[in-house]
């Protein structure tokens, strides 16, 4: 089974000042698949996720080493703004802007130069439909996004990311702030999005990873508290017959 590679990371290290937060990560992420990143808290999984859209650069003192390629292109040679158009992100806590629902979704396309109201309408509707939110909000698109429930806010954030037409969507524990029903809806949504996007999702919830992903990467910390990739493979293999003892301990709940 040979899948086309979307993102490739080679010998990647990340430092906060003198502290090494990620150590020698090498991984290939396949196109149009859902890849889950799991591991105990503090193992650097969110930091690793934020590598793909270079959000770590917003934190002063961060330094990286190694190569990260998207479609064979070095992302560190790209303009970060252009990169972030192609690699969307959904954050841990829903973070809609304090604007109307419509303006939240239209924000990206507008910023990228689309002014025509009719086309914006189309993009907003399509994005909200794709994020499975349209039916709930179609009658009050001008209402403040902050009036929505947490689950709705998170789906709005997904719609906002979709409206930019990215190729990859990064999700940083997108359901951790939500109740179980809202979580389930997000998981279903992710399944439908997979056809058109490459999805990388960080989760602390192993059932979620097992349920919703095609591939799973397991991260943990070494003795110096640097995060490293322990094991990576098809989700079913990793959960049923892990090849590393540490993975087995983790998924059977012996630590973390």
């Amino acid at each position: 089974m040979q899948l086309p590679v979307k993102l490739e990371v080679r010998n990647y290290h990340l430092f906060y000042g003198n502290f090494r937060a990620l150590k020698d990560v090498t991984i290939c992420i396949p196109r149009n698949q859902i890849t889950a990143i799991i591991g105990p808290s503090g193992c650097g999984k969110s930091t690793f996720l934020r590598t793909f859209n270079r959000m770590n650069e917003l934190i002063p003192g961060v330094r990286v080493q190694g190569q990260v390629l998207m479609d064979g292109q070095d992302i560190f040679a790209m303009d970060p703004v252009e990169l972030r158009q192609r690699v969307g992100m959904v954050f841990q806590r829903p973070n809609p802007f304090p604007k109307s629902i419509y303006d939240n979704v239209a924000y990206g396309p507008r910023a990228h130069g689309i002014r025509d109201r009719r086309r914006l309408d189309e993009i907003v509707e399509r994005s909200l439909r794709d994020a499975a939110l349209w039916d709930e909000v179609k009658d009050d698109l001008n209402k403040s996004a902050l009036a929505l429930s947490g689950g709705q806010q998170q789906r709005l954030c997904i719609a906002r990311a979709l409206a930019v037409q990215p190729e990859v969507i990064l999700m940083d524990e997108p359901a951790s702030a939500l109740d179980p029903i809202a979580t389930l809806r997000i998981e279903e949504l992710i399944q439908t999005l997979k056809q058109r996007y490459t999805i990388v999702i960080v989760t602390h919830n192993m059932q979620q990873a097992a349920r919703a992903s095609d591939f799973t990467a397991f991260f943990m910390m070494d003795e110096q508290r640097a995060g490293l990739l322990v094991e990576y493979g098809p989700t079913r293999d990793l959960f049923t017959r892990p090849s590393d003892k540490r993975t087995e301990d983790y998924i059977t709940g012996r630590f973390g």
Binding site: M55, F91, N95, P98, C157, A161
Partner: protein
Amino acid sequence: MPVRYIVDRVAKYVLLFSALLSILIVFLIGLFTLREGEPAFRQIGLEHLLGGTVWRPEQDSFGLLAMIIGSVLVTFGALALGLPLALGCAILLAEVAPDNVRAVIRPAVELLAGIPSVIYGLFGMVVLVPLIRGIDVPGNTGFGLLSASVVLAVMILPTITNIAEDAIRAVPREYKEGALALGVTHWQAIVGVILPAARSGIVAAVILGVGRALGETMAMIMVIGNSVVFPHPLTANPLTIFLSQARTLTGNIAVEINYATGLHESALFATGVVLFVLVMLVNSSARLLMRARTG
């Protein structure tokens, strides 16, 4: 009862009294300015006081309109010149400048706030006024609204910059990250998300700057000319109104209080009441905005 409990109780009430002193002073200020101004309000009437265009104490004519317009125009001028400067600094400090640059500009802005207003006035008289006198318009003395606006623009900068910077910094980081993750430039994120989210705080900063501008006294006296004329354009060009001399409400009080008697003195206290009410309205609207933001 042990002594320490008595001490505790006594201390508590002494402290409470001190805490209430401020409101007592506010009350006394209101009482005294109103009491002294009352004859003027009674004999001249609010209408003539606020609407009268002639201030000639020796003829018992006490119209404040020229001074009200003077104060409003100089505040407007200061905002026109000072807002881009103050808000530009605020955005620069909150979003763009690296820490080491911030470590230079921030203390500089704080020092600007500490410089005595007579120094600004002196600098204005010696440097700015001769410069503006160079603008070739008949009747232009250099002293006037333009000089006063420039001086005031620098004086309100620290007020506006500090509060606006705090407001911008208080915008949750998630908003900025959310915007950048959509592939917009930093500037687009500032204009489209960060500034709108900080809007009420920024507006409050500007309003407090207005309050500061309306209250400034000595620097205004020194550069605005103080003649009790209705500000008017010197030529057909309406912009030359800023070359006109003027007088502010604050200046009116300071220049004349030490020798005024009788109704004249009372009219100056009435000027104080007008100024007080104006500044209180401005400041409390800013406070309401800030409270809405935090609450």
